[in-house]
């Protein structure tokens, strides 16, 4: 049964508003009072969910337009989801599409498409990967990492056979084709795991492998989210996979023009994040 009043929930900069089943005059008056409060929230995005709304009055559209204007002045965005065709038709008739920002294809419609040069794409990718590595090491491991987004080690200086484990994420969509690899020795992964879990934890082989996977998950995931949100990238969610030493022969590293190797140096040892733009299939 639809709620009698609108409700909202705020998470990570998103104010999610569930509209009530009926938007008569009383409901709109209550909604306007709430909208005035919501407009003051520190939220980058306000979302109106129409799923429960069965009927509406003109007063609602006027109120929503005013709300959208207030948000625009604060560089905040209003979008609408689960809007029925009847509501969408009325929004269009009133010329309010720009206020309501109906989202039908989710999440694609949320992001504006942007064309990036190859250079800009790579520059931003390395910048955000470095930031993600800082965040992962500082927050999870309570340590520091040194990484220069403008520096790439040479492949011959970092042969794969010096590592014990490589976790990888393969991206292959219309935006980017590349393989992201995190390369490390077991010793370094063991130290990183101990930093994460404390000195009393017994670090077994499963934990070491999990560390390789989760570290790449955090670095790729953090970079992906920020790049997609802030730079209009379209990187997909991917679950990392693990390669052990016996599987390294499957990795065909590309030449220098297509391969960037970022050393990440911590007090517990170094690991490497490499981005291979010459790969379209998983190693």
């Amino acid at each position: 049964m639809a709620a009698a009043e609108s409700t909202n929930q705020v998470l990570e900069g998103v104010n999610y508003i569930t509209l009530p089943g009926s938007l008569g005059e009383d409901a709109v008056n209550t909604l306007v009072a709430k909208m005035n409060g919501w407009a003051e929230l520190d939220a980058e995005m306000h979302v109106m969910d129409f799923k429960a709304t069965l009927n509406f009055t003109n007063a609602f559209f006027v109120a929503a337009q005013a709300f959208a204007e207030k948000l625009k002045a604060k560089n905040s965005k209003l979008i609408s989801v689960n809007m029925s065709e009847a509501v969408a038709k009325e929004v269009k008739r009133l010329g309010l599409e720009a206020s309501f920002n109906r989202i039908q294809n989710f999440p694609g419609d949320l992001y504006k498409k942007k064309t990036l040069s190859e250079n800009d794409l790579r520059r931003l990718l390395f910048k955000y990967l470095a930031q993600a590595a800082f965040a992962a090491v500082e927050t999870t491991l309570q340590s520091t990492v040194s990484c220069d987004e403008n520096y790439s080690a040479k492949a011959e200086e970092v042969p794969l056979n010096q590592f014990d484990m490589i976790s990888a994420v393969n991206v292959n969509n219309d935006f980017l084709q590349a393989e992201f690899r995190l390369c490390s020795s077991s010793k370094v992964l063991e130290r990183l795991a101990r930093a994460m879990l404390g000195p009393d934890t017994v670090i077994d082989a499963e934990l070491i492998e999990s560390m390789a996977l989760e570290l790449l998950n955090m670095i790729y995931g953090h970079a992906k989210s920020n790049l997609n949100d802030k730079e209009s990238f379209r990187l997909p969610s991917v679950i990392p996979r693990l390669m052990r030493k016996t599987e390294f022969n499957r990795i065909k590293r590309s030449g220098a023009a297509q391969l960037t190797i970022m050393p990440m140096v911590t007090p517990m040892g170094a690991f490497y994040v490499e981005v291979d733009f010459g790969t379209t299939r998983p190693s």
Binding site: Q9, L11, E12, G13, V14, Y16, E44, M45, V47, D49, V81, F106, P107, L110, Y111, A135, A136, E138, T139, T140, A193, M196, L197, G198, T201, E206, L207, S210, M211, L213, E214, N217, M218, Y220, G221, H222, K224, S225, N226, N228, D229, S237, V238, I239
Partner: protein, 128 residues
């Protein structure tokens, strides 16, 4: 104070272990673990928990799919669920809100944030 129980759902052992440590730190005694959504649902058939901590990107069943299944179960509609995930895009936040998630923690996470959110949801006093 009633004994609390939490279910942790994550395919990574390091994360499960870390969250288990955090839960113990705030005094949670019964901590259950699942490596993915499928195992989580099997456990929940015979289990009542006060809170579920779940990852998003997992094999076999994503966190979003898990939340949808949990919310379909009349016994579990009100069970609080916190996503703990590296997904931080506005689209992901919105998707999780629409699916019925109660709260959200972005990886990498400071222990203090996890403790704060668990204590707030379960109304447990935070230790100084």
């Amino acid at each position: 104070m009633a004994t609390r129980s939490i279910l942790i759902v994550d395919d990574m052992k390091t994360v499960r272990l870390k969250l288990k440590q955090v839960c113990k730190d705030v005094g949670i005694e019964n901590i259950y673990e699942a490596v993915d959504g499928v195992q989580a649902l099997q456990l929940l058939e015979g289990l009542s928990v006060d809170l579920i901590l779940s990852d998003w990107n997992m094999p076999n069943m994503t966190g979003i799919e898990l939340v949808a299944k949990i919310r379909e179960n009349p016994r579990l509609t009100k069970t609080p669920i916190i996503f703990i995930t590296s997904e931080n895009e506005k689209g992901a936040i919105l998707k999780s809100l629409m699916s019925g998630v109660t709260d959200y923690i972005v990886k990498p996470f400071p222990d203090a944030i996890v403790k704060q959110k668990i204590c707030a949801l379960l109304k447990i006093p935070m230790k100084p």
